[in-house]
Every structure is written in structure tokens, then in C-alpha cells.
Symmetry: C2
Subunit: 150 residues, 2 copies
């Protein structure tokens, strides 16, 4: 098993990222991996925003994981900056390899480096395995996450 690299995503990484987003019980219903255009447009917006960090995990030249870290300055908690982790995916071949743990630990460390006092994320209520995973990593399921589709 070669070395793992975690680095900023480039436009070339978008197709393998989208394939991972689609290879998921929830993602299968909402992604369109055969049409890259909307994803490439979105990539440009993400890449241009200095508070967005879309990253990939790469092993032997192959993209095997992705996540997006957003840095959000705020007033509450004495002006605390928080980070939000979204879009965490690990390639099906790599699940159970410890990559998820290394990846989230990387995101927590990067949040600290960026001066954040809080890391947060939401996880679909049906993803019970993910909930245990985040609790093992020290996260507390203290909140309910609400969504409204426009």
C-alpha cells in the first residue's frame, strides 16, 4: 500500500470526485456523473474562494477520497471561527482501511492551523455507521441539522 497524499483538488480531480459522490446510497439519486459541466462550473467557484478547501486523498496517483472544508468567521463564542466539513467520501475499495480516520484527523488539524475554535459537520440521520465513526473521533452529536431545498 503506497503513501497517502492529501492535497488541494484540481479541475482534473473533478471526475473521480463526482464518481465517488455518485457511488453512495444517497448520492446515486442526486448526482449526474455523465454530465461534468455543472461540476466544473462549481469547481471554479470553490477554487476562487479562499475560505473553501476542497481536497483529495491520493494513493499511487489514484484519487481515493475527498472532502470540503469551509472556514466560517463568526461573532458568537467570543468571535470564534469555525470550520464546516462537507462532502466526505472514501472510495468503495478503501473503506475500512483507516483512510476516513486519517482524513478527518487531517481536516481537524487543518482547522486548527487556520485558527478555528470549532469543527462542525452534519450527517444524514440514516448514516448510523458514520455517526459512530464521528463519535469515536471525539465529535458530539449535540445538534439537529435542518435542510430546506429551494
Amino acid at each position: 500500500m503506497g503513501d497517502l497524499e492529501i492535497r488541494r483538488a484540481t479541475a482534473e480531480d473533478v471526475p473521480p470526485i463526482v464518481a465517488m459522490l455518485a457511488d453512495d446510497p444517497l448520492g446515486a439519486q442526486r448526482e449526474s456523473p455523465d454530465d461534468p459541466a455543472p461540476y466544473l462550473t462549481a469547481f471554479e467557484r470553490i477554487d476562487a474562494d479562499p475560505n473553501q478547501h476542497l481536497v483529495v486523498a491520493v494513493r499511487e496517483g489514484r484519487v481515493i477520497g475527498t472532502l470540503q472544508l469551509t472556514i466560517v468567521p463568526g461573532l458568537s463564542r467570543q468571535g470564534a471561527t469555525r470550520s464546516i466539513i462537507e462532502g466526505v467520501r472514501v472510495h468503495a475499495d478503501e473503506r475500512g482501511s483507516g483512510l476516513g480516520t486519517r482524513f478527518i484527523e487531517w481536516a481537524v488539524e487543518e482547522s486548527r492551523r487556520q485558527g478555528c475554535q470549532l469543527v462542525q459537520l452534519t450527517s444524514d440521520a440514516t448514516r448510523t455507521d458514520a455517526h459512530r465513526f464521528y463519535e469515536r473521533l471525539g465529535f458530539t452529536a449535540s445538534h439537529l441539522g435542518f435542510k430546506l431545498q429551494l
Copy 2:
């Protein structure tokens, strides 16, 4: 009751915003309204970020509500941009006046204007009144919200 204005917050609005953050069962333990310095530093960071929209609700020159809207471009859901609502507070004198509803409706409308396909927020599991409020406004409590303090 005079007209309600919802507008971008300025540095002068920071003290009344912090007073509202502190006047709350959870906020009372984590805010320091007597020391404005960390809040003013945080305000500068928020104000400089074009994807942060810290707003106040004002009636007859008095700040009676605040919320922060963050615009987050992303790859998932076919390159959907989402907005995140944080730090919603309504002045104690104004609770039950319908201001909260108008305020969240404003945030949803602004999210649409900014091209978002999804609005999301998290609410502490203990705030059961808030949960009913968001559900009445069309939000679905589909997720668990995890936090890790650094």
C-alpha cells in the same frame, strides 16, 4: 410598531448583537459582552468575506435581531451552492412578534437570490421550540449535527 428593516451589519451594530448572543441560556455561558475586542476583530473578518452576510433587523433605530448567512459553493448535488444560517437571535422583547419568521423567510429569499439550491442550519438538541419553528417554516430535521471543540 414601526417598520422593520433588515440590513447588513456595521461595526456599530456589534455591541447590540453581542448583547443578544449573551442573552440566551446557552450564550450566557460562552459570551463576554463586557470585552468587545474579540468581537470587533471577528467582525472585520466577516465583513471582508464576500460569502458572509451578517445582518441585523432594526425597528425605530433599535437592533432587535441578527443572523449570519454563509454562502458555500460545493460539488455535491450537481454542483449545488448551499447557504448556512448561523447565529440567529431575536431580542427578548420581540419574541413571539413574528420577527423570527420574517427573518428566516428573508434568509431563504436571499439564499435564492444568491443562487443557492439548499438552505441548512443546525440547532442545539435542547432548543425544542426552535425545532418546531424551523419545521413550520418548511425545514426538515434530516441530519444530526456534530461538533468538536478545538
